[in-house]
């Protein structure tokens, strides 16, 4: 099991020019851990991160898009696995932060927490490659290869809450930051 903030820090250390889409607590954390104008946190409704990321990946096939989704969120939008696999964007990396609970909503357990192999669901849907990682050293070691794989790629990351970071929902949905994202992406 990895601390999620340590997992995100490890990603930030290896990040090049990827678009990063993050939801809920991971989105809050990434704004503190790795501020970047290509961070996309404007998801707006639970479960929608993977779908925003698909739009970005289809719109910019030249850019790698990495989404840090949640297990509660993905359960709310399971059909997106099929939609994504059907479009088969080569630049799509779907990282699932599996913590087995609705962390933002009182840490209530998700249905069948810990008993679902999300990577198997992704594989059955048609993702090209899947990984399951529960150790930080393994994540740091495998990440370069994961980012080189032809997508869509699915990575289950077994995580738990790490350090607490201040919540700022206004920042997550800021129109100013959204427009800055668009300008930065248009110029990159």
């Amino acid at each position: 099991m990895m601390k999620r903030d340590e997992m995100l820090k490890a990603f930030a250390r290896q990040r090049k020019d990827e678009i990063l889409v993050a939801v809920y607590t991971a989105a809050q954390e990434i704004t503190h851990i790795a501020p970047n104008d290509l961070n996309y946190t404007f998801v707006g409704a639970m479960g929608q991160g993977s779908s925003h990321a698909l739009g970005l990946a289809l719109g910019r096939p030249d850019k790698k898009v990495v989404v840090f989704d949640g297990d509660g969120s993905l359960l709310m939008n399971l059909g997106s696995l099929v939609t994504i696999a059907n479009q088969a964007p080569k630049n799509y990396v779907h990282c699932l932060c599996e913590n087995g609970c609705y962390e933002t909503n009182g840490s209530v357990p998700t249905p069948r927490a810990g008993q679902i192999r999300f990577a198997d669901l992704a594989k059955t849907a048609g993702y090209k490659k899947t990984f399951e990682i529960s150790d930080l050293a393994e994540w740091e070691r495998d990440l370069p290869n994961i980012l080189k794989e032809e997508g869509p790629v699915f990575v289950t990351l077994k995580v738990e809450l790490g350090e607490a970071y201040p919540e700022n929902f206004a920042r997550l949905y800021s129109l100013e930051h959204r427009e800055k994202f668009r300008r930065t992406l248009a110029n990159s």
């Binding site: 739009g55 289809l58 939609t83």
Partner: protein, 169 residues
């Protein structure tokens, strides 16, 4: 067919006039046979099929953030099913999501709010409460409002709804 009041070609031409390449869609009984299948067969368009309508709202948002215009085709049932995504992404998130909504079962030339179909009857009032502009398309002459509505949505970064009141053929 010559006397039929609404053609799929007239709607498709408006999408082209508005610079649409991506059409996100979940089949709608009003538009699937002639319009959606026609778009899928046209190399000028890329149709992205979704499994549930709220996905489509967010895919359009991501496409916009990546610099693309798109439209999202669905039935009014899907519109009703995806209200929270429309609220959070399109309205409060200020994404120019352009929804093309088939009003399945609407009586010809009757205002949607007068329909006996509850889902059809409540669609426009819900759009009004959400503050989303809407345009009813029942005849070819109505279709000329489509491209300007899409242009306005992208200029203002706000959603719009094109309501298809009868099957385009």
């Amino acid at each position: 067919m010559a006397d039929y009041p609404l053609t799929a070609a007239s709607i498709k031409n408006e999408f082209k006039r508005a610079g649409i390449h991506f059409v996100v869609a979940l089949p709608d009984r009003v538009t699937s046979h002639y319009l959606l299948k026609g778009l899928m067969a046209d190399p000028e368009f890329r149709v992205v099929q979704v499994c549930k309508e709220d996905e489509g709202i967010s895919i359009c948002a991501g496409l916009y953030a990546a610099g693309h215009k798109s439209v999202f085709m669905m039935q009014y049932t899907g519109f009703l099913d995806s209200i929270n995504a429309i609220r959070g992404v399109a309205v409060e998130g200020h994404f120019p999501v352009c929804m093309v909504v088939g009003l399945l079962g609407k009586e010809p030339d009757l205002a949607p709010t007068k329909s006996k179909k509850l889902g059809v009857k409540i669609t426009e009032p819900i759009l009004d409460v959400l503050g989303i502009e809407h345009h009813l398309i029942e005849r070819n002459a109505d279709t000329q409002a489509i491209a300007p509505a899409i242009d306005k949505a992208f200029a203002n970064s706000s959603p719009t709804a094109i309501l298809i009141g009868r099957e385009p053929r």
